[in-house]
């Protein structure tokens, strides 16, 4: 990993790009936003792109024969090109726009079943640290097809337990689907090892990159996975748009997901034939303004440089891990070492429930998430019902972390813990 020269990464300047960071919260307190793994804040460049699209270019895409239609179609497809470039896709047609990452993963699970890739007698392998959106679609698929669902466990340290790698991924395995960066533990998984084993036995690999694309340099062509899902709103883009990237030859083999407008080649009353990817998987009016906004988000991050974003994330995470561990009664759930780790830190505080922690932090202007973070099995693995999670991004400062620590001390005093 290239470490940014301090002079090249100016967090104060970056913060000026995010108008919401100037908000004052109740009691005239400054906003300390530590919930970026939930959703990131948006820079002016993205807000302006959405605004300009609606003010100047709004029309439906691919079917309107007027000037605005051509402009909107051009802008929408530019968004696809920008996203493809940002993630290192070989072809722009490998980028399918969905509603969010959950829909992208559901799309994959549905069409792999319909294609007969996952069927009775085959295995689907996931992990215990997945977000519910990378568990439930596979449960639905295996229940529907009679395939077996198997999963990797988690070590005490919060790493993927690869001891059973060869026993879990076998000749029977049709698909391995796993997260790149855990939204709860912060763990960065060793994808190369899993991908190598999966491909050795002819299994497809699906990667949930929802927490990875926002904070790591990503090159899907080099990664070697077959399908990668992520969402726009966690990478400073708008809500309402997600991405499924897939190898073009694989996408071209797979049947459609939803039926409707724009995904067809031709329709008669008896049957239809389907458009090539990506249109095959994009039924109905797509998230047009959102694609424009996501393109602007990709440009924004690319201009800063994802190596710089990753280096900053690492620096802030290291600072947070050190600061939080100094608080008596605070236990971090997940790796305590910054290596192979993302910027989400989940923890418990003795004697205070996470909801109460979050409420007290909020009363100090500090926004975090409390609950199971849509990862109940991972919580169960560590014997906790819920945790408080602080998560960081390119605009997070060490003063934000200091404010968190101060507010946690206040919380302890308040609850007499």
């Amino acid at each position: 990993m290239t470490v940014a020269e301090p002079a090249t990464y100016d967090v104060t300047r970056i913060r000026k790009d995010f108008p919401i960071l100037d908000r004052r919260m109740a009691g005239d307190l400054p906003l300390v936003y530590l919930d970026s793994a939930n959703t990131s804040q948006k820079p002016t460049a993205v807000i302006d792109a959405l605004d300009e699209h609606y003010r100047q270019h709004n029309a439906n895409v691919a079917r309107a024969m007027h000037q605005l239609g051509a402009e909107a179609t051009g802008a929408f497809e530019d968004g696809r090109t920008k996203v493809a470039d940002f993630i290192g896709a070989n072809r722009r047609e490998e980028v399918v726009f969905t509603k969010n990452a959950s829909e992208a993963l559901n799309l994959v699970a549905r069409v792999l079943g319909d294609a007969g890739r996952v069927r009775e007698g085959t295995d689907v392998v996931i992990t215990e640290m997945e977000h519910h959106s990378n568990i439930v679609p596979w449960q639905l698929l295996t229940e529907r097809t009679g395939a077996n669902l198997r999963w990797f466990g988690i070590t005490d340290e919060g790493r993927l337990d690869l001891d059973q790698l060869d026993e879990l991924i076998t000749e029977r395995t049709a698909v391995v689907s796993l997260t790149w960066v855990s939204n709860m533990l912060g763990t960065v998984n060793p994808l190369e090892t899993v991908i190598a084993r999966a491909h050795e036995v002819g299994a497809l690999v699906v990667v949930d990159a929802s927490q990875a694309v926002p904070q790591l340099p990503v090159d899907v062509a080099a990664l070697g996975a077959d399908l990668v899902a992520f969402t726009g709103h966690k990478m400073v883009g708008p809500t309402g748009i997600g991405v499924l990237w897939g190898r073009y030859d694989l996408l071209a083999e797979l049947p459609p997901f939803l039926g409707g407008g724009e995904m067809i080649e031709t329709v008669t009353m008896e049957r239809s034939t389907y458009a090539p990817p990506p249109s095959r998987f994009e039924a109905g009016t797509p998230p047009i303004a959102q694609a424009v906004g996501l393109g602007a988000a990709a440009d924004y991050l690319a201009a800063i440089g994802m190596h710089n974003v990753a280096a900053h994330e690492r620096e802030i995470t290291a600072y947070a891990l050190d600061s939080l561990q100094e608080i008596d009664g605070l236990t971090i759930i997940g790796p305590k070492d910054v290596d192979m780790r993302g910027g989400a830190v989940s923890f418990t505080l003795d004697g205070v429930h996470p909801h109460d922690v979050a409420q007290l932090l909020d009363s100090r202007g500090v926004a975090v998430r409390a609950g199971h973070h849509c990862a109940k099995p991972a919580h169960q693995r560590f014997g906790v019902q819920s945790t408080t999670r602080a998560s960081f991004y390119l605009y997070t400062t060490t003063s934000d972390i200091d404010a968190l620590v101060e507010a946690l001390h206040h919380t302890k005093t308040y609850f007499g813990a």
Binding site: H353, P354, H355, D356, Q359, H372, S386
Partner: protein, 152 residues
């Protein structure tokens, strides 16, 4: 919004020293309710005797608001007729959904009035109502099972 409005002393006392916690026999119905947005859980048993709430026993994991609410529920409904207790449930629900505009009746709701502040924190209303909804469900099931026995 002042967080002290939410965390009244009464609530923190019930949280630290909950009344009637634990699962007990006998009971006619047991339910398990969860708050899916945050994962708070409660297992709750109801024992009815001659039209009265003879016992409400529970095992719960969750935040101070949900725990304190279960404790107050236990205080309020045990010993009352089912009809009277259902009336209390209505009063408590009205207070929770009243956006801070409902003046609670202390004679009726006793320590329950401390939850008036919760109504101003929309994200926490479900926490306060979790045990009450579980109690309502369990009581309805207990009444059903009594009817079945009477019918038989």
């Amino acid at each position: 919004m002042d967080v002290d409005t939410l965390y009244q002393e009464i609530i923190l006392d019930h949280y630290k020293h909950p009344h009637g916690r634990g699962l007990r026999e006998p009971f006619e119905a047991e339910v398990h309710h969860v708050n899916p947005t945050c994962g708070d859980e409660i297992t709750l048993r109801v024992h009815l005797d001659d039209g009265r709430v003879a016992d409400v026993s529970y095992d719960a994991v969750g935040c101070s608001i949900s725990q304190a609410s279960a404790s107050v529920l236990n205080d309020l409904v045990i010993g009352r007729t089912v009809e009277d207790a259902m009336g209390l449930l209505d009063d408590f629900t009205e207070l929770m959904q009243g956006r801070g505009q409902v003046e609670p009746d202390e004679d009726r709701l006793e320590d329950g009035i401390a939850f008036a502040g919760v109504a101003q924190f929309p994200a926490r209303i479900k926490c306060a109502l979790l045990s009450w909804m579980a109690w309502k469900d369990a009581t309805a099931q207990a009444l059903d099972s009594q009817e079945e026995r009477t019918d038989a």
